[in-house]
Symmetry: C2
Subunit: 231 residues, 2 copies
DNA sequence: ATACGTATTATGTCTACTCATAAGGAGCCA
DNA sequence: TGGCTCCTTATGAGTAGACATAATACGTAT
């Protein structure tokens, strides 16, 4: 029982009029005051509804000019980036994790520029495999800045995957993520049931905290992997 | 000159306290009323600030229980999906487009299930290439539902790319998008400077409008292409 | 001890009003 | 034809107060 008009109702009706109704691309919407009158609610309610439609990228709002339906909506896809464990368990599979390699090395030249580190810096290098129902799902090749996170030198990554340790240790970092297709290396072929040279879906992720590089990771997926989103 | 506390200031301070300050993962934030008192503003202002922090996936809000900092933030990457033209022109390159093939065919079996179409349905099939500064950038393999969009049968796609025609014709559709790595086909090799079998970054996109399949597209990128986002 | 109803409390949302700010447009003057 | 000021208008954002709703806490009856 909500006799009052809610901003969700207003929003739904506005969306309907844009997608199915009289407000086509480029058209000018009535002012907030007029809409408030029409929907018999306060201007604040209309404002909130319009602000959320704006966040969807479907309208363009300008002071004095008014609110206009975009000619082409600003398309944006949102991908949730879950922990591998959650991703695998969400498919109903049993998660297992194995540490393949663990070493402390001076920073390789290829990562020096990427992580903005000096020549004497050291990185903890980890290679591990994530399995779903016993089948390899993802190969993780991770480098952790030992200068920024000295605890990483001594941590035992055999029990807990580095990703889970990191989100618990540095929860709110800045992240740059990129997707690409590459040819399978011998390492990827060995651990992911690929043949060398096969196409591999890779995610590269760099994270920073307070201007310091924390970790750089390459995630390689099993053959046929897809990332999907709706919008 | 804004002597009043704005919701942005409140939001910034809350974010600071979560990321650098005293409110670590799992901790309970003061109630909106207490925060309003502390920041000398109204509850509505605090509410708006907290609502936006919630949208970032950093806190968990529950009636009666209060607001809690998440143990691990809900990571979400947002990708803007621009028109190829805009993508290429944003790099400072000159955009050119070429139509390679245009035909009307009965729906292939592989697409019948995907687009939920009957056996007598027909699709407009288009293959085109998008160039940046004369070099091939993206190969577009598109199928348009001729039943839902009869205008597509007669439209001349030599002048305008199908994507631009479609966003002008059916601007607000539902989209499913997925990314994957595949091996280059002969067609991709011919038009994108790949060798057959090379890894190709592919984007597949299906769009629907009012429950009807509109179009299904496979976008294949030139060698080395990356999709990048920050969050 | 367990089950159930009730009080409490924090968030969710709406109203009504106020002032701020960006920007289009009219009018005026050189 | 400019270029300038000033008025008007639509959104942006704040205040205070009210009621709704979900969920926990607690006290009482069985």
């Amino acid at each position: 029982m909500t006799p009052r008009t809610t901003f969700r109702e207003v929003q739904a009706e506005i969306l309907r009029r844009i997608t199915h109704g009289p407000w086509g691309p480029g058209s000018l919407l009535p002012s907030e005051i007029d809409l408030a009158q029409e929907f018999a609610c306060s201007r604040a309610t209309v404002n909130r509804a319009l602000r959320e439609v704006d966040a969807l990228g479907m309208i363009d709002r300008r002071r004095k000019s008014g609110t206009r339906v975009r000619m082409a909506p600003v398309r944006q896809a949102r991908f949730e980036i879950p922990l591998v464990r959650a991703e695998i368990e969400a498919m109903g599979a049993t998660y297992r994790y194995a540490l393949v390699r663990r070493e402390v090395l001076p920073t390789p030249d290829s990562l020096r520029a990427l992580m903005n580190l000096g020549p004497e810096s050291q990185l903890v290098h980890l290679i591990c495999v994530h399995y779903g129902d016993g089948a390899p799902y993802q190969l993780e090749d991770r480098w952790i800045n030992a200068g920024a996170l000295p605890q990483a030198r001594d941590h035992d990554f055999a029990a807990q995957s580095p990703n889970e340790w990191l989100v618990a240790t540095v929860p709110f970092s800045e992240v740059e993520i990129s997707f690409q297709a590459t040819a399978a290396t011998d390492l990827e072929a060995t651990h992911l049931n690929h043949n060398p040279g096969d196409p591999v879906f890779q995610v590269k992720r760099s994270t920073w905290w307070q201007g310091q590089a924390i970790t750089h990771t390459t995630l390689s997926y099993r053959p046929g992997h897809r990332m999907t989103a709706r919008y």
